[in-house]
Symmetry: none
Subunit: 403 residues, 2 copies
């Protein structure tokens, strides 16, 4: 991973600008043995030009063979070994919807579910209830009071919400209550340590109250809690990299991870690549580093929608000139992990990566941006956590190590 | 890094000979997007033949993105992780000019500078005063006496000298006195720890005496001290690799690093590649391992002299047959880091590496020795610290690990 002590020692202020453009789940697979991947299929003249001028490589999100979730995958790209920095889902979701989680607070991600008359889960996602329907149910939960504990609940999307418990002596060492299958009842919260016993009791008391309030809901008549966690207090971008960093993302999770590493999360209108690039332009003079997150590549991959994913890539390529007009010193285009439409899920495959930094890059021999071209790229295959030092070097923001 | 315990366990005596030919700062960059690098441009029939017969790869000096100084870069090539073994400049320079630094001694690299009437630095390098002029000034400094401390000063080159303090209770934990900018006065030596307080006082007393002796010099009328350090007592080549190793180098720094790892530094006439290869021939029967260092590739790179760097590479290629006539079992040709003329400085780019070992190498598909050819090389990209195990293996000097 990025050696933060080395980074603290060697990073230097500069006027150069770095853009990290992440197409979520970018990496793909061909549908037939002789076929092309989503990225290889896409008509993407701008990305291909950048690939011809710059350097390609493959980024390994966590370890060879390991499929990451969105949180760990982004932490890796940001230089934080996700195995060392294990951030709970609760914190990620909470930050994503703007709920603060302090080091003393415990956040959990909540899922509404449907239980039958016997209390056994019949739908783990409450029929993917619409956000408009789940929001008033979450509002009901906000009424629950437990002595000595301040509680904040907030809807996320569809069947998902977050709950944060604040009070003396709360600890995140609590097992999730999701049995991970239908036909089983939600589990009670169980403390992993004696010290977390009180927290588990608070959680169980809250769940009992919640169940009473929602028992008559047609779909969301029960709930499970996962990812109990506190603010991990990660080293911040400004401290370790001397970068003033902005996050331009649409989805809560990515805003959450960015905030954890000290990026300023941007508010802006719209959710298209062009809207995101317009926001980058607006704040171009205020920041050194711009994390731009494109979600639908991953969503279409998860849907198994090969053509849809191709179209998302094409839409990013089409919007790209607006970003290039800003003349970034370093532009990295990559994904946080692969989401091949063929697999309809995240995967472990190394992720195509393009580094374009005209003042410092070594143009390599590839003719286009694609998975197979990246296997021949001059950057080789490297851990995602090495990306930040590499980007900083290409931005001439690292001093020489030793005489 | 090279696992020294594994090396101690597996290395075995043999009659094979290994040559490590280092062209300092070998790696380069093209000047135009479609252009060639210095190495790719050079007419180098011998190196190209070796590349076709042998294996290519890229060596990462310290970590991805990290630009090393000469000392750390060579330590890496020799198998010592330069982040773990952080050697001070004072020790490196002292060893380089043949001044011994024991574990109890403190060495510093000195720079003459020019200060104005207010004592503020107007030239940090004293106009790069010629060695012939600085030598008698250093001789003056040798007169300074401090009770209980033995002091040795020696000129290095131009404005540079070394000073070694020997005596009871001296510690290297002292901050440098170079303010690193003109318009500021040289700083007093400040102890980083309470235990080093005495050392800082000795240094400040010495500097005060020195300033009196040189105050009327037209250029070198003041000085700064950097890189306070003691002998790091590194594991030695003979102990970890079972190699009797010789260093054939012209510049002090490289002799210094070699001596720190237990190489015998050679004295010889001349400073051309042919002179260095002639010295290798002379001692061929006395050693197992030959580190041959070519400096001007780096110097021309730092000058931004693309064509000059090309010519240095060509001059090495031209002299190479004399080395090949010795029939080394393993010949490694590489650099310690990259110094692209385009950047006029050391850089972080991985370094082209050629391994030729006719009895054991896997010929790969490359047709020439160059950065881009190396990205396709069979050795792949690996940390510089892995080179020694690789070279020892190709010299059949490593036993099997386990049954």
């Amino acid at each position: 991973m990025a050696d933060f002590n080395l980074m603290r020692e060697l990073t230097t202020e500069a006027k150069t600008k770095i853009v990290l453009l992440v197409m979520d789940g970018l990496g793909g697979l061909p549908r037939t043995p002789s076929g092309l991947t989503e990225l290889e299929t896409a008509n993407k003249p701008n990305l291909n030009r950048l690939a011809r001028e710059g350097s390609l490589g493959l980024s390994v999100p966590v370890r060879l063979g390991i499929t990451p979730g969105s949180g760990p995958a982004h932490l890796g790209l940001f230089g934080y070994d996700p195995v060392q920095y294990d951030i709970g889902r609760g914190v990620l979701e909470a930050f994503g919807v703007g709920v603060h989680v302090g080091a003393q607070d415990v956040a959990a991600r909540g899922n509404f579910c449907t239980v039958d008359a016997q209390g056994l889960i019949s739908d783990r996602r409450a029929g993917r209830i619409a956000t408009e329907k789940s929001t008033p149910i979450v509002a009901k939960l906000a009424r629950i009071e437990i002595k000595g504990v301040e509680i904040e609940v907030k809807p996320v999307k569809e069947y998902r919400f977050v709950v944060v418990f604040r009070g003396e002596g709360l600890l995140a060492e609590v097992e999730e209550t999701d049995p991970q299958k239908v036909g089983a009842a939600p589990l009670p919260a169980v403390a992993r340590t004696a010290a977390a016993q009180h927290t588990a009791e608070v959680v169980n008391q809250w769940v009992a109250e919640a169940r009473k309030l929602i028992k008559d809901e047609p779909q969301a008549n029960a709930l499970t809690l996962r990812g109990f966690s506190s603010d991990p207090n990660l080293p911040k971008y400004r401290e370790v990299y001397k970068l003033k960093a902005a996050c331009v993302a649409v989805y809560p999770m990515y805003k959450g991870v960015s905030q954890l590493v000290g990026m300023d999360v941007q508010k802006f209108e719209g959710d298209k690549p062009g809207d995101e690039f317009a926001q980058v332009k607006k704040i171009w003079n205020d920041y050194d580093f711009f994390f731009v997150h494109i979600k639908p590549t991953d969503s279409r991959g998860e849907d198994g929608d090969f053509e849809g994913k191709v179209k998302v890539i094409e839409s990013v390529d089409e919007a790209l000139p607006a970003l290039l007009d800003l003349k970034p010193d370093v532009l990295v285009v990559t994904g946080d992990h692969s989401t091949p439409a063929k697999l309809k899920s995240h995967s472990w495959h190394p992720v195509p990566l393009l580094l374009w930094a005209p003042a410092t890059h070594m143009p390599d021999l590839a003719g286009e941006f694609g998975e197979r071209a990246c296997t021949q790229g001059g950057l080789g295959r490297f851990p995602a956590t090495d990306l930040m030092p590499l980007a900083l070097a290409h931005a001439l923001r690292l001093e020489r190590y030793g005489a």
